[in-house]
Amino acid sequence: MKYLPFSLSLVAGFALIWVLSTRWGNIPPMGPFMDPDGGFWAQAERQPFSNLADKLPGLMDSVEVYFDDRRVPHVFAQNDHDLYYMQGYLQARDRLFQMELQTYDAAGRLSELVGPSLVERDRQSRRWGMVFGAEQALAEVQKHEPSWLIFKAYSAGVNAYINSLESEQYPLEYKLLDIAPEPWNPLKTALLHKNMTRTLAAGNSDISHSNTLAYFGPEFIEQFFDKDHNLLDPIIPISRSWDFERIPVRLPDTLFVPKVARGVQPFPVPEGIGSNNWAVSGDKTASGYPILSNDPHLRLTLPSIWYEIQLFAPGINTYGVSLLGAPGVVIGFNEQVAWGVTNVASDVLDWYEIRFENEEKDRYWHDGEWKPTTKRIEEIEVRGGETMVDTVVYTHHGPVSEVKSGNMHEQVGATEPIYHALRWIAHEPSNEIRAFYQLNRAKNYDDYVDALTHYQAPAQNFVFASVEGDIALWVNGQFPNKWDGQGRTVSDGTDPLYDWQGWIPREHNPHIKNPERGFVSSANQESTAPDYPYYMDDVYASFERGRRINDRLSEMYEITKDDMQALLMDNYSYHASEILPSMLEWVKTDSLYPIQIEVLDSLKAWNFYNNAPYRAPSVFRSWWSELYESILVDEYNADFPLRAPARDRLVQQLKDNPNFWMVDNQTTQGVETIQDLATISFKKAFDNLTESYGSWSDDWDWGWVINNNIPHLTQTNGLGALNLYSGGGIESVNATQGSSGPSWRMIVELGSEIKAWGVYPGGASGNPGSPNYDSMIESWRTGELYELRFYKEPPLDSDISLGQESKLLVKWSLHP
């Protein structure tokens, strides 16, 4: 009895320790997390970033790294191995969690980290064959000795950093999730590329297009999806002629009609993922040398998708942004050339309806015979749950997913499972790192063209400019050679005529060098005019950004960096200028309140710029989306996905024929006119804005309504940058809107002394406890650019800060 109080206290103490060391839901284990020495407090950066001289095992020779005032590392190595070893080490040091998260996601392993909530996403990743694709790529990389060395050196660098970590040094996110980093390997680098391919080249509307064709008929397709907007200005100027015959392909007599399917759309890509790039020739610039500019638009997150770095070693001196998890520079420049990328929306992903012999799925019908499948067992480990086992069946097309059937008209009851096989460029053997390896070292146009031949996916418009004065743009990637319309709908998996029959030869890819107009540009619009001999697809960005850039560049001369900067931040809305005047004519003012008339007047006075302090862009956008909705709502009321017309196509249609058949709401008795819809939708827009932002005031500023938020990668509260008062719009050159926008803005002025400027919404460090976590966001928001410090030789010791006196440069001297 006498030990009872002691025992109770002891048990209570142990219980306390257990409670504090356990993760409750999303709440991290509070004991280790709050520990001032080892918990989150350890990530609160409080030491000044300072010089260092140290051993780094694994290096072959000594390396110097100079960190500039934005903490961008400039790596000076004496061989390729050490260069990429350091890139791996530094990226891991600044962004380890991001590197791991992206590759866990690509591999379909997120459930391992967070539990059952992400099992479905993981399963889709497995069914899309992401790891299969990465394995194909890695096999290809190993065939090219220099690439394989880089992969290994980079991995070793990442691991050197991981191995140096004690658990209290783990980045914040590891502590929040109560996990530990795992060793890096080259497959993860390949997975990262597959993740980019999924972000940029997984767009497809095969199922919805098939359904739309079956539901509305071919005339509808022609009207809304085949024709281009009359202001479309393709990437390769219309004047370009093609002096080759296409490689012929055999095509089926009639188009296969697939079963109507609901399908799955597991990886939706929001509009706003696009990009701009351009280069102007020396004839149009004040300096007489070309200027190149690029702003890739992506999901904006903290930390940023990009990592800025200078890489210097014998045979290479390049500066730009790299992806976390991959060696080399993706967008940047060297002493002779500059390059940048925008996405190509060509169709490199097709679904095939598969006929299996039976539910065993051991054989499928193709080319008049039963062919064997292969199976891949996918084990999805689930944190706090049972491992899920999924068998993914592979045909020669690719991995198979089961999709749900959809019902159309009286054909109710189509309940049998439908199987779609995925044919996707991401499953092809490829070695993109080799392309960047060569591009980073390119000296002229020919080197650039040669580098591009090694790049397959995700296809990009590679813009180029050189000190020699060349400008060029290649629509570059591996493109299947398709018959007209092939893969636009779900394909017949049994008929070889629907297989990808080969590739467009690289030299036939759309491209242009030194065009007469003195500039090249791209903004994700159609690659070419219709006379280009090959079929590449129809899901390109609306015409607006591309047209605006070309309009502006055509009329600009004596161009300087400041002109390019202004164009990067250009908020003009072609969309509004095209349709708003008509909308203002249609709206019936007699039923409006005085305050609504006042709002209308502000629209009439608007100059079509999506600038932050204007209220008109908020009203226009809300009005347009209500109008769009009200036109489509009755026709598009189906329980299977249908493909909706693009914004610019509907605008064109409304301008040509305001009362075309879709305007009338078929579910009502009377006949609605465009005047009715315009008025109703205007009132709705007014009500919506009033509900969200209060009465007509500065709170309606587009700067707020744009809803520009940059969340943390995991959407964790407190770790993002929210409510950034910004201008822009998805149809403007400055394509900021919501959580998408310019993820890196760069201008490079070629010349004997290359000058460059850049900014991205984030900072070098991925640590939320570092001042460098979000230090560039304000400059990014206001359109400022930093001059990039591009060293042609290692900086002098006199530039290096001693103690805290000067913040110019911090030097790390590392040796093996």
Binding site: K2, P5, S9, I17, G718
Partner: protein, 115 residues
């Protein structure tokens, strides 16, 4: 009493630098057994010692880092004020040490009892 307080606070701080978070219970366990305090006082002294050790430590980090991270973590936990985070940190440390000191003082007391 002051001595016990200083011994626990100082040793907890030092141990925490080299050992994991739960090591802050060790000084309380060790010194609480030797210093004969009543259970309530033992708990109070143990609590206060690490409350202050962790509180001051985290307050120092908060100030030295301009509160950048504490503001974010406070928002993450839905706290209105950053300083609450420091209090929570201190309380967690304090409670751990309080129970440790209490436990060992109760053990010492029990061993001295006849029945």
């Amino acid at each position: 009493m002051i001595i016990l307080f200083l011994l626990i606070a100082g040793n907890a701080f030092i141990l925490n630098l080299v050992l994991p978070w739960w090591s802050v219970v060790l000084p309380g366990l060790f010194f609480g057994y030797r210093m004969h305090e009543t259970p309530i006082r033992a708990f109070g002294i143990g609590f206060l010692a690490v409350f202050l050790a962790w509180g001051v430590h985290s307050l120092y980090i908060h100030i030295a880092s301009d509160g950048i991270l504490s503001a974010r973590i406070a928002e993450l936990f839905g706290l209105m004020q950053d300083w609450v985070l420091i209090v929570i940190t201190a309380v967690i440390g304090g409670i751990l040490s309080g129970f440790a000191t209490l436990t060992s003082s109760l053990l010492a007391q029990s061993r001295n009892k006849k029945y």
